[in-house]
């Protein structure tokens, strides 16, 4: 194994043993799974750049030098080929897409493997090891010895990489070029969300319209309008045309009026009309999530005619599992399922297999009720009608699934107070969520201030300062509480879960670990602070640090244990069908945390003051 960072700057020696330059880069031929190194770029005297063929001239190489097989004057230099990529210039330090881990990362080093006389690129190192090695190889060795196995290599194989900035490298990556395209649109969307506006635009340039349309449909709502807005008008409208009308309408509804009008005008008449008709409905209602692309037939047709009709008219419709029968002015008369259609003889009239009892919703029905109806009747699509019974469109199962996901996320938020996903909900959200922290802070400070007035000491400031860390314990306590609450809500299987005793041990251990880390940190910080305050610095800082650290460690451990017990209790109550209040749980745990921290802190300070001649 050789890393690119080790090769750069190493000498290039010709057949006579003379050093003719230092390695500045190596090029690989793209198009293989593990591409070969094809060219060697080096810097000759006076920083002159040279390039030569690896296959022809490289005789031997190791981590220390590259040995050429001819003498300097006999070398014939070459140029970078169109299918070649320079590892240092084009890959090292650049951002790439990890198409396996679905995220954007930076290349910290490149790993090559030697087999006989060939050098092949294995992949990109994107972890902390690569950074350390880049700073200095010795640093990596020291860190590896200190942390052992936990400091693993984070390697992305070449075939799971995709370059973001193709324009800069001017190369076509035949293997990798396919990668982003091969991904599922939902994964492409995930990656897009991690990029800057410019980079997103670049990736879109490389996607075909249909792939772009799929990816945009999968993007989070907040990005969709931005992305469309950044594309050129013609391309944006082409892409919107390819999307399902309900998705397209969602995006257009979020665009400024002028832009929306321009895009609609550039579209085909049919698509524009479909989108415009949807724009009139409110969000979060059946009308807002339906698509107008419905397969409709007349009652007079035969089964054969209907199938023929489907082949011609409905090829692009989102859902054809149900065929709706209309009469007059698009009045919904009945429904036939695809199954009935296929099972019936071709000449059967539609009227014979028609089911007139259609389950349908009104356009202004709440989307949650729509989703519930669909799941109750196990429907793949649900027709939406107006007050007179005219068929307006259908809600398909994928939209219903999305609604359920949204609503369940909202429910979980309500229960745990945790926010799912991004976005800001303003100051109020924050006040209701974390506003208690400043309130507690003020309460503590008042209490500490009162105490320092009553107990005459000259370390008032210190006492007040030290009352403050209790908030950290309380914040942790709250996190423990929501963790326990989330468990209650997810309600895992009874059998799959470890016993209470076992969980007490594991949770206790993790509490101990967190407590130890926080305690040590607090001890160090307090030690420094106290050291700066006092003349008898050493004694006081060590003792003060130990007290704060110990108080932290023990109180966090207590909170962890209390959280496990409270969680167990809550689960039992919830299984018994009783309501569990998450507020009670978190307030309870916070009080446990605060009381144990402040109690421990005060007791130990007083103990020290009295018995160890430690004058406060």
């Amino acid at each position: 194994m050789i890393y690119l960072s080790q090769m750069l700057g190493k000498p290039v020696v010709d057949a006579t043993g003379t050093e003719i330059g230092t390695i500045s880069d190596v090029a690989i031929a793209t198009g293989e799974i593990f591409p070969r190194v094809t060219s060697l770029a080096f810097q000759g005297p006076d920083k002159t750049p040279f390039m030569l063929s690896w296959r022809k001239y490289v005789d031997d190489f190791d981590a220390e030098q590259v040995q050429l097989n001819v003498a300097g004057p006999d070398l014939r230099f070459s140029y970078l080929q169109p299918d070649e990529v320079l590892l240092h210039r084009d890959l090292l330090n650049q951002q790439i897409v990890d198409t396996q881990g679905m995220k954007v990362v930076r290349v910290n080093d490149l790993k090559l493997s030697e087999s006989r006389n060939q050098l092949r690129l294995l992949g990109a190192e994107v972890g902390i090891r690569g950074i350390l090695r880049g700073v200095h190889p010795a640093l990596e060795r020291v860190a590896a010895r200190l942390f052992g196995k936990s400091l693993r290599e984070n390697l992305i194989a070449w075939n799971y990489m995709d370059l973001l900035d193709r324009d800069l490298s001017h190369v076509q990556l035949s293997v990798t070029h396919k990668r982003l395209h091969e991904l599922h649109p939902a994964d492409v969307a995930d990656i897009m969300e991690q990029l800057s506006a410019t980079q997103r635009a670049k990736v879109f340039d490389h996607l075909e319209n249909s792939q772009a349309a799929d990816a945009i449909s999968e993007l989070e709502d907040e990005f969709q309008a931005d992305v469309i807005d950044d594309l050129g008008n013609q391309r944006a409208s082409d892409i919107l045309e390819l999307m399902d009308p309900d998705d397209a309408a969602d995006i257009i509804g979020d665009l400024p009026y002028d832009k929306a009008e321009t895009l609609l005008r550039l579209m085909g008449v049919g698509e524009a009309r479909a989108i415009r008709s949807l724009l009139g409905y409110k969000e979060k209602t059946a009308g807002g999530i339906m698509t107008p692309e419905v397969t409709t037939v007349a009652e007079e047709m035969t089964v054969a005619q209907v199938i023929e009709h489907l082949r011609h008219e409905a090829a692009e419709h989102e859902s054809i599992y149900y065929i709706y029968v209309i009469e007059g002015d698009r009045h919904l008369a009945g429904v036939i399922s695809l199954r009935d259609l296929i099972m019936s003889a071709p000449e059967t009239p539609v009227a014979d297999i028609l089911s007139r009892d259609v389950i349908k919703v009104l356009a202004d029905e709440d989307q949650e009720d729509v989703a519930e109806t669909m799941s109750k009747y196990d429907l793949l699509a649900l027709p939406v009608v107006d007050e007179t019974g005219r068929l307006l469109g259908i809600v398909t199962v994928d939209d219903a699934l999305e609604v359920m996901e949204e609503e369940s996320a909202e429910d979980l938020e309500l229960a745990t107070g945790r926010r799912a996903g991004a976005g800001m909900r303003g100051v109020w959200q924050w006040v209701s969520r974390d506003g208690w922290l400043p309130v507690w802070a003020v309460l503590f400070l008042v209490a500490a201030g009162l105490e320092s007035m009553l107990v005459d000491t000259d370390m008032t400031g210190l006492i007040i300062v030290a009352a403050f860390p209790a908030l950290i314990v309380m914040r942790l306590a709250e996190d423990f509480a929501s963790h326990a609450m989330a468990r209650v809500i997810e309600d895992e299987d009874e059998d799959g879960r470890p016993s209470l005793a076992r969980r007490l041990v594991t949770d206790g251990l993790s509490g101990l670990a967190i407590g130890a880390v926080v305690g040590l940190l607090a001890a160090a910080v307090m030690g420094v602070l106290l050291g700066a305050v006092s003349d008898k610095a050493v004694v006081r800082s060590l003792e003060g640090g130990a007290i704060i650290g110990g108080a932290f460690g023990i109180s966090i451990l207590l909170v962890a244990i209390a959280a496990t017990l409270a969680g167990e209790l809550a689960e039992r109550r919830s299984r018994a069908g009783k309501r569990v209040s998450s507020t009670t749980m978190s307030v309870g745990l916070m009080i446990v945390g605060a009381v144990s921290f402040i109690g421990l802190y005060n007791i130990s300070f007083r103990f020290l003051a009295r018995f160890l001649l430690f004058d406060l």
């Binding site: 330090n93 990362v105 930076r106 700073v135 800057s196 980079q199 959200q429 924050w430 007040i464 602070l529």
Partner: protein
Amino acid sequence: MTAAKTSSRKRGRFVLLLSVLGPGLIAASAGNDSGGISTYSVAGADFGYATLWMIFVMTFSLVVVQETAARMGAVTGKGFAALIRERFGVRLTLFAMLALLASNAATSVAEFAGIAASTELFGISKYISVPVVALVVWLLVIRGSYRNVEKIFLALSAVFISYIFAAVLAKPDWATVAKATVVPQFIGSRDFVMLVIATVGTTIAPWMQFFVQSNIVDKGVTVKDLVIRRIDVVFGAITANVIAWFIIVTTATVLHPAGIRVTDAAQAATALVPAAGAYAQTLFAVGLFSASVLAATVLPLTAAYAICEAFGWEAGLDRSWSEAPMFNSIYTFVIVFGALVIMLPNLNLIAIMVFSQAVNGVLLPFLLIFMIRIVNDRRIMGRYTNGRIYNALSWGTILVVIGLTVALVVMTALGWG
């Protein structure tokens, strides 16, 4: 900044115009933070009009540097930290990011010093105000709601415009002032050299360049929209420096002849007495507090985003601690560090504010060298590289600050001045 990004597109033209006066104005106003106010006040009180020419020259440097940052963002679509990494590799990036972190941590200390000083003017102990504000700032940052609050603080910090009235009402000798603005003066004392470095460091704080560039990138500004961004940065730079200039004129006219040396915020506030009378302290305290909080919320995020961008770590306000541990640790560290230092008893807050700006000044040239090397690289910038005047001004700033730093070190070592 991506997560909290709200599209300004939905709003009307007028708001659009306001949002145009965006990152440049915010960066420059936040640049007139506690460190700025105290540095300018001390400069005027201790040395009269002797540093006015610095402000004049620095306006050009600030415009050039900010415009360069905006242009790099628009042309490359990448942040400053990403460009440093891609152009200079891991080792130099580590150095640049340590410099940025040190500068941001020092500035964060100054912001909390400003918070402590301003609340003490209202009689609130710093042991109460600093932790409470630190917590509020941390929550504002983590909730991403700081954008709502940002505008309020930006508006409140505009009370420093009252320095313009104070300067006029103090009736300085305008001829002397004008002469001092254009004719450079130099006083061979250590205090003066350090104050000059601090003035540079507070006017062109390193974090401002990262902030402006990443804002341009986030908004997806391209080269065609660059004109309007240029107006923003030039306007912001000039506004900020005009106010700085008036602060020095005011303090130099009111405090310097009276022999008052600014050692605490109350003394700095007396400079506003000609304009605000009995309300001078309140006015000063409100302005100082707002500017400090504004900068204290922007700073930690700038550091966290830049460093994560450089090393390819997950970043974003919507990422949890386990998803983006480095991002969360960095901004928490910057806030906690600033607050903890100020919690030490018996601090001279004004001296701390000035000193932190001197740290900025010393670190600035190194980051500017990265900037100027990148902006002149044709492979990165295409035809948008710097012109001669730009390069001359940038190199001028770099060399002068390095020269001053060396001079300060030599003077300290030899015990001169």
